[in-house]
């Protein structure tokens, strides 16, 4: 029975998972040993594995990014300011995992509060890329992507504010899905930029990432931005034909500066989509060049507001000082360099005299970017782009150059700005390093991008 058949047949799921997944002891031993990746910030103890329901994930261990609240395990957001913090409640996505029978294997490393593209901004040290330990795994959900790529678990949850699920999935050679804004409840996801944040899924295959998405999606009365829309069987979409699907190729996502080997792999992926029955069509998204500055104004503005709550009074760490204001300042001084940088930028762009020049302009730009997508999706079913301009880069290469680091997200932030779903699927290797192709769909178009990704995955699978 194929992997696909085993997952689709729920009665076979336990056997399949039981025979292929690592135990908690295995994960701890690997992480503590010389080959450890620092992918996990906490691995569950057997007593943490609460009794759970029967469902399509029965007996499956799933890892969670450490900005998703759990009651039994700490939730640190990769920050010294929340070190040891235990949430009094559990995220809706985690509850849904348990109801589906999943076991929570542990909490994975991330850039502090999700702010970064390499997982080097964690207060608890960087995660290493399992493909090549001298490289970053991407970020900010680098721990989740590395845990799946290393085979610690088959599935993990991440969060994606500007590409934080898709880019690490691409760097580690696994599948990452950021669904439509509102598809998965954000209740219990610690906020970075509330109008952009979305929980996403990472899987070793398109089918597994899709099944995980299906389990955690759906309306939640505790998140007013979650949508009251039925959840399709995404696992079925993963094996659906794409005959007749129109795939748009946005010219702005294929700049001349792309390395020729990267470009060659992208062209080959387009050809494979056509060979699977799709029709390719060039389209234009003219405001793409403004996406990065737009994103970094809006995301930092929202972050400066969301992170104001970490003041030493309501959550986490407190540094003693004489006077309340001094205590606030010293406590918040525990934030890492990137978080401070973003809080400062966000405070500046929201300050009197600069608000309209930056924040107001960025909001209008966001609408223009969303309008580009609406226009494109009148002509095509999905869009195909690179996930990232390059494969994984060396640890330390971009830490001191924030603009270079921000530009890593150039192809992913637009989906968050427009609220549309995006998916990264492996499309081969450049110099031995995995490269991801990104599929973007219209609002609630997850099934379309999953089908296209499934077709690509099947096409590459036929080669091996």
């Amino acid at each position: 029975m194929s992997l696909q058949d085993e997952i689709l047949s729920s009665s076979e799921v336990l056997d399949f998972r039981g025979s292929t997944l690592r135990s908690l002891d295995d994960i701890k031993e690997l992480e503590d040993g010389p080959e450890g990746l620092n992918a996990f910030l906490a691995v569950a103890e057997p007593e943490d594995l609460e009794a759970c329901g029967q469902g399509p994930l029965e007996g499956v261990m799933v890892a969670l990014k450490d900005n998703i609240c759990t009651k039994r395990l700490p939730t640190t957001c990769g920050s010294r300011i929340l070190k040891g913090y235990r949430s009094p409640y559990e995220a809706t996505a985690v509850q849904r995992l348990r109801q589906a029978g999943a076991l929570i294997a542990g909490k994975t490393n991330l850039d502090e509060f999700g702010m970064g593209s390499s997982t080097e901004n964690s207060a608890f040290g960087p995660t290493l890329n399992p493909v090549d330990r001298s490289l970053v795994p991407g970020g900010s959900s680098g721990g989740s992507a590395a845990a799946v790529a290393a085979g610690y678990v088959r599935m993990a949850l991440g969060s994606d504010t500007g590409g934080s699920v898709r880019q690490p999935a691409a760097f580690c050679g696994v599948v990452g899905i950021k669904p439509t804004y509102g598809r998965i409840s954000r209740y219990g996801l610690i906020a970075f930029a509330s109008s952009l944040d979305q929980i996403g899924t990472i899987g070793a295959t398109v089918l597994e990432a899709s099944l995980l998405l299906e389990v955690v999606s759906g309306h939640d009365t505790r998140d007013s931005t979650s949508a009251e829309k039925p959840v399709p069987r995404y696992r079925d979409a993963a094996v659906q034909s794409i005959k007749g699907m129109v795939v748009g190729i946005p010219t702005e996502y294929f700049p001349e500066q792309l390395d020729p080997p990267v470009r060659a792999l992208l062209d080959e992926a387009c050809e494979r989509l056509v060979a699977a029955g799709a029709e390719g069509r060039p389209v234009s998204l003219p405001h793409t060049e403004f996406a990065i500055p737009c994103y970094y104004v809006l995301a930092t503005a929202e972050a400066s507001s969301n992170l104001a709550r970490y003041d030493g009074v309501r959550f986490g760490a407190r540094l003693p000082a004489e006077g309340l204001d001094r205590m606030y300042e010293l406590t918040r001084g525990k934030f890492g360099a990137e978080v401070k940088r973003r809080i400062m930028l966000g405070t500046y762009v929201l300050s009197s005299g600069y608000y309209d020049a930056y924040y107001g302009t960025a909001q209008r730009t966001r609408a223009s970017i969303a309008h580009d997508f609406t226009t494109a999706f009148n002509e095509v079913d999905v869009l195909f782009t690179p996930t990232s301009p390059t494969p994984a880069f060396p640890l330390g290469e971009r830490v001191l150059d924030p603009v270079a680091m921000y530009l890593s997200d150039v192809f992913t932030v637009t989906a968050n700005l427009a609220g549309i779903p995006g998916l990264s699927v492996p499309i081969g290797t450049v110099g031995g390093l995995p490269l991801g192709g990104q599929l973007l769909g219209p609002w609630w178009g997850e099934s379309h991008i999953i089908a296209a990704a499934g077709a690509l995955e099947a096409s590459y699978g036929e080669d091996t």
Binding site: V297, L330, R341, M344, Q363, L417, A418
Partner: protein, 104 residues
């Protein structure tokens, strides 16, 4: 636009962040590099904006206001609708066990 070290110090105060001297210097450089990049947004000023720039995503059904009473009470002065009001405070019954006169 650019920021000086003094500006950065002031932003830090607004954000309630304690910054060491070396952080101040580094942040001034970083913020100026980022702002140079962000300033490209100004180039967009001359391009055509969508008609409804407030709409991101699918059209939502407008909320019906027919069930709402108006105007919002909070737009009136509290003394206009407070049951009891004295010297800028609401007058409410004392909680159980508390002597309103303050005597023990």
């Amino acid at each position: 636009m650019s920021v000086s070290a003094r500006d950065v110090q002031r932003i830090g105060e607004l954000a309630r962040l304690h910054l060491e001297d070396d952080e101040l210097e580094r942040l001034t450089l970083d913020l100026n590099a980022i702002l140079r990049h962000v300033d490209s947004l100004r180039d967009l000023g001359s391009t055509k904006q969508p008609e409804d720039s407030s709409q991101i995503g699918p059209k939502l059904t407008p909320v019906s206001h027919e069930h709402f009473e108006g105007p919002d009470k909070l737009h009136e002065m509290p003394e206009d609708f407070a049951p009891e009001w004295k010297e800028g405070f609401f007058i409410v019954p004392a909680p159980p066990g508390v002597n309103p006169s303050g005597d023990q």
